[in-house]
Amino acid sequence: MDLFLVNLIDGLVYGLLLFMLSAGLTLIFSMMGVLNFAHASFYMLGAYFAYQISTYLGFWTGLLIAPLIVGVAGAGIERYGLRRVHQFGHVPELIFTFGLALLIEEVVQFFWGKSQKAYDTPEILQFALFSIGNNSIAAYKVFMIFVSIAIFLALLYVLTRTRVGMIIQAALSYPKTVEALGHNVPMVFMGVFGVGTALAGVAGVIAGPVLGTFPGMAFVLGSIVFVTIVIGGLGSLWGALLASLLIGWMTTFAAASSFQFADILLFLGMERPADMAASKLRDLWTLTMPQIGPILPYMLMVFILVVRPHGLMGKRGL
C-alpha cells in the first residue's frame, strides 16, 4: 500500500512534467496544424540554458530567465523559419521541425559537448520532505508538482478569462474565422509558438536536474509528447492533462509491477519448457511488465487512433 502511494506520487510528477510539454505542443498543433517535432528540443534548450545560468547565478535565476530565452528563440524560429515554410503546406512544415530537432541537438553538442552535465537541484530543496514507509519523497518533487499545477492554472486562466485567451480559443476551433475577424493571426501564431516553447523550456529547467541534462534528452522524450497529445485529443488542454497523467501513471505502474507474461502462458494451459534456451517462445516466457512499460503508450495511441481518431477529449478529427 505504501508503495502504491509512492508510485502514485511519482507517476503524478512524471505525468505533470509531460503535461508541461504537451500543453504547449497541443496549443501549437491545434492552432497552426504543425506537429512540432522540435518541441522536445526546446525542452532540452531550457535545461541547458538553465544549467549555464545556474553555474553563474544559481538555480532560481535560471528558472526565471531560461524559459524566456527559449520562448524568444521559439518565437524567432517561428517568425523567420516556420512562417516561411508555412506557404508550402503542412508536410514541409513538419519536416522543417524535424530537421530543426536534429540541428538543435547538434548545436547543443557543439556548445556544451557530448557528455552529461552536472545540473543539479537547488540545495535548498535537497532534502526529503517526508517518507512513506522507507521511501523518501524529495522536496524537489513536490516543488515540481506545484510548478506544474501553477502553470496549468495560469494557462487555464489565460485561455478562459482573458481577451487573448478568447482569441486563441476561437482560433483553436475556427482558425479561418478568426483571421477573417481581422485579428493578426500570424502575430498570434508567433505568440503561441513562443509561449508553447517557453513552457517546454520551463519543463526542461525543472526536469533537467532529475532526468538528466544530456544531448539525447530531447530524443528520449520527443515522440512520447506527440503520443500524449494524440491520445488526449487536439486543442484540448484538459485532454492533454488527462493523457499526460494517464501515461505518467501507466509507465510508472508498469515499471513498478512485477507481472510476468509467463503467468498468462501458464494460464493458457501452456507448459513451461524444460530447456528454455531451445524454446522458440523463450522471450515470451521471460517477458515482464517493466520490459514493455515504455512502449505501452504507443500501443494505446495506435489503438485510440484506430477506434477514436480524435483522441480522448478532442473536438475535431486530426
Binding site: 506537429l35 523559419g81 516561411r84 515554410v85 508550402f88 503546406g89 503542412h90 508536410v91 514541409p92 513538419l94 519536416i95 522543417f96 524535424f98 530537421g99 530543426l100 536534429l102 540541428l103 541537438e105 547538434e106 548545436v107 557543439f110 559537448g113 515522440s223 506527440f226 503520443v227 494524440v230 522458440k280 517462445l281 523463450r282 522471450d283 517477458l287 520490459q291 514493455i292 515504455p294 512502449i295 504507443y298 500501443m299 495511441m301 495506435v302 487512433l305 484506430v306 481518431p309 478529427g317 486530426l318
Partner: protein, 439 residues
C-alpha cells in the same frame, strides 16, 4: 515521361527510344562505375547507396506519390531483411537450392506481408492519423526487436554468410564487386518497376488521392484502397532493399528497424525532392556521401547535414531535384548560357561564404576540443594554427563577405532565371515547378 499521345493513328512502339534513354544511360553508368572506382571501400559505399536508393524510392511511393507521411518505414525494410537473413541461414543449414540473387524477392514478400497487415488499419486516412500510426507501429516493432531475441537476435543481430548458398553461374559472391552487380540488377529492376507503377491506373490515382482524396472518391475510387495498394507496394520494395542489405552486410541488427533509420529515409527523400521520380535517387546519393565520406573529414558532419536539410526545406521545398528541374525550361528554351554569369556572380561568393562559415566553425571546434599544445589543424588542405587570431579573422571575413556579396547579387540571379524560363514570344502562364508538388 511525356504522356501526350503524339499520333493517334500510328501505332506506338512498345518502347520508344526517348523513354528508354535515361534507363539505358543509367544502366551503362552503373555498369561502368566499378571500373572507375575500383577500391573495395568505394564499391561498398556504392552498394550502400544503391540500397538506400531503392529504399528511398519505395518511401517516395508513399510520401511523394501517395501523400502519406510515414515515421516508421524502416520496419518494412528491416523485417524483409531479417526474414532474408533467416532464409539465408536456412539455405546454409539445410542446403536448400535457392540461388542468392533470388533472395530479395522473399524480403519483398515479407515486407509486403507486414505492410498488408499494418496498411489494413492505417491507410483509412492520410495526414496526421497515418503519420502517428506509423510512428506508433514503428516504435512497437523496434521495441520488439530487442525483446524478441529468438527472431531478431537482440543487440548482436542475426549474422549470416552469403557465400554458403549455391554458386550462381559459378559466382560465390565472395567480394563486394560481385555483390555490387547483384545489387545493381535489383536496383534497376526495382526502380523500373516503381517507375512503371507510377504510370499505372492505380499509380495515377495515388497522385489524385494525394491531391484531393475527396474528389477521387467521387470518381469511383476508394481513397483508402488506393492508399492501401501504394502502401503494400512500397512495403514490397522496402523489403527488397532489406534483402539486399542482408546480402551486402551479412548481418541485420535492431538498428535496421530503428526510428532513426525511419527518420533518415524521410530526410533523404525530402532532401532529394519528393515531387520527382528521380528526386530520392539524388537524395540517397548525396546523403550516403555525406554520411560515409564527410564524416571521415569532420566530427561536425551531422551539424552540416542538419543545416543543409533545414535550408533545403526553407528555400527549396522541391528538394535538389526541384532545383534541377527549375532549369528544365531554360534548357528547353536554349537559354542556359545566359545564366552562367549571373550564377557565377552569386554562387561563387555564396560558396566562399559557406566554406568560410564552415571553416570558422571548425576552427572554433578545434580550438575548444583539441589537446593542449596541439594547435595545428588542417582545413581544406591548409595547415593552420587554430589558436591564433589570423585564421579566425580570415574565415570570418570570408564568411561575412561572401554571404554579403552573394546576397547583393541574388536578385540579379533570380531575375536572370526568370528571364531564362520565359520565351521571347508572348508569355504563357508558367509556374516554377519547384513549389509544385510540395504540398
Amino acid at each position: 515521361m511525356n504522356d501526350t499521345f503524339q499520333n493517334t493513328a500510328a501505332k506506338r512502339p512498345l518502347v520508344s527510344l526517348r523513354d528508354a534513354a535515361p534507363w539505358l544511360v543509367a544502366t551503362g553508368f552503373l555498369l561502368v562505375m566499378p571500373f572507375i572506382f575500383t577500391a573495395n571501400s568505394t564499391i561498398t559505399i556504392m552498394n550502400q547507396m544503391a540500397i538506400t536508393i531503392i529504399f528511398a524510392l519505395a518511401y517516395n511511393m508513399l510520401l511523394g506519390q501517395g501523400g502519406m507521411l510515414s515515421f516508421g518505414h524502416a520496419v518494412y525494410m528491416g523485417v524483409g531483411g531479417f526474414m532474408c537473413m533467416h532464409i539465408l541461414n536456412m539455405v546454409e543449414d539445410y542446403s536448400l537450392p535457392l540461388p542468392l540473387p533470388l533472395l530479395p524477392i522473399f524480403g519483398g514478400l515479407f515486407g509486403m506481408g507486414l505492410a498488408t497487415i499494418v496498411g489494413a488499419f492505417s491507410t483509412r486516412k492520410a495526414g496526421t492519423v497515418f503519420a502517428m500510426i506509423s510512428l506508433g507501429v514503428g516504435e512497437l516493432i523496434a521495441a520488439c526487436s530487442i525483446i524478441i531475441v529468438a527472431f531478431f537476435g537482440g543487440e548482436e543481430g542475426i549474422p549470416g554468410d552469403r557465400t554458403y548458398g549455391l554458386p550462381f553461374f559459378g559466382n560465390e559472391f565472395l567480394h563486394p564487386i560481385d555483390v555490387y552487380y547483384l545489387i545493381v540488377f535489383w536496383l534497376i529492376l526495382s526502380a523500373l518497376l516503381m517507375y512503371l507503377f507510377s504510370r499505372t491506373p492505380v499509380g495515377r490515382m495515388a497522385n489524385a488521392v494525394r491531391d484531393n482524396p475527396e474528389r477521387a472518391e467521387f470518381l469511383g475510387y476508394s481513397a483508402r484502397k488506393v492508399r492501401f495498394i501504394s502502401f503494400t507496394a512500397s512495403g514490397f520494395f522496402a523489403g527488397v532493399a532489406g534483402g539486399l542489405f542482408a546480402i551486402n552486410y551479412e548481418i541485420l541488427t535492431e538498428e535496421n528497424l530503428s526510428l532513426i533509420l525511419s527518420g533518415q529515409i524521410l530526410l533523404i527523400t525530402f532532401l532529394g525532392g519528393v515531387g520527382f521520380f528521380f528526386g530520392p535517387i539524388i537524395g540517397a546519393i548525396v546523403f550516403t556521401l555525406l554520411q560515409t565520406v564527410l564524416s571521415l573529414e569532420t566530427e561536425l558532419w551531422q551539424l552540416y547535414v542538419g543545416a543543409l536539410f533545414v535550408a533545403t526545406v526553407m528555400y527549396f521545398p522541391g528538394g535538389l531535384a526541384g532545383v534541377l528541374m527549375m532549369h528544365y525550361p531554360s534548357v528547353k528554351l536554349g537559354k542556359v548560357k545566359s545564366l552562367v554569369v549571373p550564377y557565377l556572380k552569386t554562387l561563387v561568393p555564396a560558396i566562399i561564404g559557406l566554406l568560410g562559415t564552415a571553416g570558422f566553425i571548425e576552427i572554433m571546434f578545434h580550438g575548444r576540443h583539441a589537446a593542449v599544445g596541439d594547435e595545428q589543424m588542417t582545413l581544406f588542405w591548409i595547415s593552420l594554427n587554430s589558436h591564433s587570431a589570423l585564421p579566425i579573422v580570415v574565415t570570418l571575413v570570408l564568411a561575412v563577405g561572401g554571404i554579403w556579396v552573394a546576397r547583393r547579387f541574388a536578385p540579379e540571379m533570380a531575375e536572370a532565371w526568370h528571364r531564362s524560363i520565359t520565351p521571347n514570344a508572348p508569355p504563357p502562364p508558367a509556374q516554377p515547378p519547384s513549389t509544385r508538388d510540395a504540398a
